[in-house]
């Protein structure tokens, strides 16, 4: 899996003091000698610090902190799809394409993203603002179709609503996350209702 070719790797990486403190807190959760268990937390911190992706230097830094061989860190980082091993845009758009979202129109969202951002899944826009990937179930099927942008879920989308979200992000705003049709959580759309009892 030649995940890390065709772009520049930063020469070095080190946690900032604040993030290092968080990393130490994560390590402290595990018994002595088992500090390698904190690897997911540290990789996540490293990914956030380096702008949404994990450079090789960051993996080596984590390996050094945890006393692991770099290959062991590399194995973990490549196993989990939520770690990005190549640079992503400032807004990393993850489009759900599993059955419920697909039934509710995720293909239209994909078409919109490709047209709007000018990139294919796996790509990154020229201005570095957006990157797009298709992912499997994000776990919010009740409010399908769903798109995850960085840490936020945008739900109950259709092409127009997604376009508004993307436009807002491009302008530097932070559109309200969650359902884009205004429902609370995954409460029923429209008036509250209860299923009728059998035979009623």
């Amino acid at each position: 899996m030649s995940v890390d070719r065709g772009f520049e790797q930063p020469a070095s990486f080190a946690f900032t003091p604040e993030i290092r403190a968080k990393a130490d807190a994560a390590i402290a959760k595990f018994p002595k000698g088992r500090q390698a268990s904190a690897i997911l937390a540290l990789l996540d911190l490293a990914q956030r610090q380096s702008g949404g992706w994990l450079p090789r230097a960051a993996m080596e830094h984590v390996a050094e902190i945890l006393g692991m061989a770099p290959i062991r860190v590399y194995e973990v980082a490549t196993f989990y799809t939520m770690f990005n091993l190549r640079p992503v845009g400032r807004y990393h758009v993850q489009l759900c394409r599993t059955t419920p979202c697909w039934l509710r129109g995720s293909e239209d969202l994909a078409t919109l993203c490709k047209r709007k951002l000018g990139i294919e899944p796996g790509g990154r826009s020229a201005d570095g603002l957006f990157s797009l990937v298709e992912v499997e179930c994000l776990g919010a099927c009740v409010n399908a179709p769903v798109v995850q942008i960085n840490d936020d879920f945008y739900e109950d989308l259709d092409p127009a609503r997604l376009e508004a979200v993307l436009d807002g992000l491009a302008k530097g705003e932070r559109p309200r996350a969650g359902s884009q049709v205004g429902r609370q959580g995954s409460a029923p759309q429209g008036a509250a209702s209860t299923p009728s009892a059998p035979g009623e």
Binding site: M1, S2, V3, D4, R56, A69, P70, I71, R72, Y74, E75, T78, F79
Partner: protein, 685 residues
């Protein structure tokens, strides 16, 4: 001890065994890819499925602990169907390239597909293809063939102790890689070729060279270091094609070092295949009669006191014995097999043996390494130390240049002065004293120096004061680097009464007091110090000795003769002829026997049996093959105050080129260049 029933037979097995091991004991063969006795259990190939009563599904026998009352069936319709299913999945992405695959004919997957394979493919989707990886100059990769058994990863991590291999990605995207295109840097890396059950990892130097059914297998002994690994030499016609390990629990288990495995291409290059005499300053090919007559005339024409013999690192016991007999017949006491100038006394056997034995390392619980880098000097011993370390409760400290030994080591610096502190009971000596089975490993390089005898004496003091020597346990070990050394010391190939040792032979030769110096494969001495002496070189490679020689008598390499070598533990073992020596080269003892005729002092043996009888009568130990006779403890070494401040160094500067065979090998030159980042310095073309 659990009792279980396997295929209708009741069997009681040791607690802690797996169902697979129990099945093997019961005589049922279980197919497997990922399981290997010496590696941790991964249980990911699923080929070893068996049926267990009361279990709704077949179980992976390699990972299931054998328990009381289990009823196992290894050959039912369900089991066969399950294994066929597993095999079909394994073959989905495995290319049908057996005709161009080097593993063909010795491939686990091929063999098991004969038993469990499906004769056509039902998989119409895309097949995956994987980019090949660069593992270095020794290992060729065809990663599309990989079935992800992870044996190579587990070997590198557990046995070799280099965490360089790993599996990235998951599911169909899983790949075995090194960390971002690095090469595998272990000295044991070649073993992953043997471990690979398919053709994903094959030998790069041996690529497309031969098929297994063309090869003639010969069981033999390795001489690239003093460990004496058991090997199998595969030859085709006159050519040695490859070397593989043989199982030997006492020594190498089933591993060999890369030098043992890959240096064999050196056997084809730089060979001495006919006698030479220096005429008018130039080495000129001559026939045997002329060469023997010329050397004989020199030997008879010189006073016995002006003749000396030096045996090199690859000399076998038979040749050394014959040469010693010849020197005695001529009346010269000047002979030495200690090419590195180490001050060993043949009488003090305990001082130059690995007394604990290699398998005995597993009983030790503390170890002091003095002036040695076992990872380079004896990779198999280092693997055993690591194996012991992984079991826990094993403290190791080392004096010498800091290197990565693949296990936790407390570094005490490189100064010999620390030895005195240890002998006085300070520092790590406390740990050694508290241990129940303490041991020390003294490097050959630590005693091959002017104050070597004093270092030896200090090490003896440490051993005695830390309780390393007692009934049933001897923790004093000398780690030799040369295959010939222990054999030479056993037969006393050392100066006789009034004889000169190596340094004094060289000094005398430089001063013109030595007229003839006979080098039996001795290449590691300083040839410039031989002065104007007439140098006879008997050996198999055109290395340093042959370049200096005035007469060259071409001998046989270890693959080309039946010969005895004694390993560092004092274990006599025999090599077997796998291919004939090239050209007019002859087995070494026969050359000396022929020479004895030319000097008119015929040695009393006409064949190998008679020569061996002569050796066994004089040195009965050497007649007991593979057996170890513990050495009696005695005082040895010199006055300890003589130890200088000169830091310890390893005698090996380049792991891959320690003998003439390695120096002639292109593969070893490639390793030197690519793995050590150095230019080859041997005499290779």
């Amino acid at each position: 001890m659990p009792k279980l029933t396997i295929d209708g037979t009741a069997i009681e097995v040791e607690a802690g065994l797996t169902v697979l091991q129990a099945c093997e004991l019961a005589g049922a063969e279980i197919p497997r890819f990922c399981y290997h006795e010496r590696l941790s259990i991964a249980s990911n190939c699923r080929m070893c499925l068996v049926e267990m009563e009361k279990s709704p599904k077949p179980i992976a026998s390699c990972a299931m602990p054998a328990a009381d009352g289990m009823v196992i069936h290894t050959d039912t319709a369900t089991v066969r169907k399950a294994r066929k299913g597993v095999m079909e999945f394994l073959l989905i992405n495995h290319p049908l390239d057996c005709p161009i695959c080097d593993q063909g004919g010795e491939c686990d997957l091929q063999d098991q597909a004969m038993a469990y394979g499906f004769d056509r493919s039902r998989f119409n989707e895309n097949k995956r293809a994987v980019a090949d990886k660069e593992f270095g100059p020794l290992i060729k990769t065809v990663m599309t063939r990989c079935i992800h058994c992870t044996r190579c990863i587990r070997f590198a991590t557990e046995v070799a102790g280099v965490e360089e291999l790993g599996a990235i990605g998951r599911g169909e995207h899983m790949e075995v890689v090194t960390y971002v295109d690095k090469m595998v840097t272990s000295e044991l890396s070649g073993n992953i070729i043997d471990l690979c059950p398919v053709g994903a990892l094959t030998s790069k130097p041996y690529a497309f060279a031969a098929r297994p059914w063309e090869l003639r297998e010969t069981e033999s002994i390795d001489v690239s270091d003093a460990v004496g690994c058991h090997i199998r030499i595969d030859a085709r016609g006159r050519e040695v094609m490859r070397v593989l390990p043989r199982l030997c629990e006492e020594i190498n288990e089933e591993w060999i070092s890369d030098k043992t495995r890959f240096a064999v291409d050196g056997l084809r290059r730089q060979r001495l295949d006919r006698p030479y005499l220096r005429k008018e300053g130039k080495l000129t090919p001559v026939g045997w009669p002329e060469a023997l007559a010329a050397v004989g005339a020199r030997l008879t024409g010189s006073a016995p006191q002006r003749i000396a013999a030096i045996a090199g690192d690859l000399a076998d016991v038979e040749a050394m014995m014959a040469l010693k007999d010849l020197m005695q017949a001529l009346g010269s006491p000047h002979l030495d097999c200690r090419q590195d100038d180490a001050p060993f006394d043949p009488a003090a056997r305990a001082s130059w043996l690995f007394n604990t034995t290699i398998a005995g390392i597993e009983q030790a619980d503390a170890c002091l390494i003095i002036g040695s880098n076992p990872r380079w000097e004896a990779p198999i011993v280092n693997a055993r130390l690591r194996k012991r370390f992984l079991r826990g409760g094993f403290k190791v400290a080392a004096l010498g240049p800091k290197v990565d030994l693949t296990y936790g080591v407390e570094w005490l610096g490189a100064s010999p002065g620390t030895l005195k502190d240890l002998a006085d009971g300070q520092g790590f000596a406390e740990v050694l004293k508290a241990a129940s089975h303490p041991m020390l490993i003294l490097g050959a390089g630590a005693v091959a120096r002017p104050d070597g005898a004093a270092v030896l004496g200090l090490a003896r003091e440490i051993a005695e004061r830390c309780g390393m020597v007692r009934e049933g346990w001897n923790g004093f070990n000398l780690l030799h680097t040369a295959a010939a050394r222990v054999g030479g010391l056993e037969i006393g190939f050392t100066p006789g009464a009034g004889g000169r040792d190596l340094q004094r032979i060289l000094a005398a030769a430089g001063a013109g007091e030595m007229e003839v110096v006979y080098l039996l494969g001795a290449d590691e001495i300083d040839m410039t110090r031989l002065g104007r002496a007439f140098v006879v070189y008997q050996g198999h490679h055109g290395d340093a000795g042959a370049h200096r020689a005035d007469a060259i008598l071409p001998g046989a390499a270890y693959t080309e003769k039946d010969a005895t070598y004694v390993n560092m533990e004092g274990r006599p073992q025999q090599t077997r002829l796998a291919a004939y020596p090239p050209g007019e080269a002859r087995e070494d003892w026969t050359i000396i026997r022929a020479l004895s005729d030319a000097v008119g002092r015929r040695l009393p043996y006409d064949n190998l049996v008679q020569l061996r009888r002569r050796i066994h009568e004089a040195y009965p130990r050497l007649g007991r093959l593979r057996a170890i006779e513990p050495a009696a403890w005695q005082t040895f070494g010199a006055e300890t105050a003589a130890v200088t401040g000169e830091p310890f160094r390893s005698p090996i500067e380049n792991f891959y080129m320690t003998d003439p065979i390695g120096r002639a090998s292109e593969t070893m030159a490639a390793c030197t260049e690519r793995l050590l980042g150095r230019r080859g310095t041997g005499t290779h073309g």
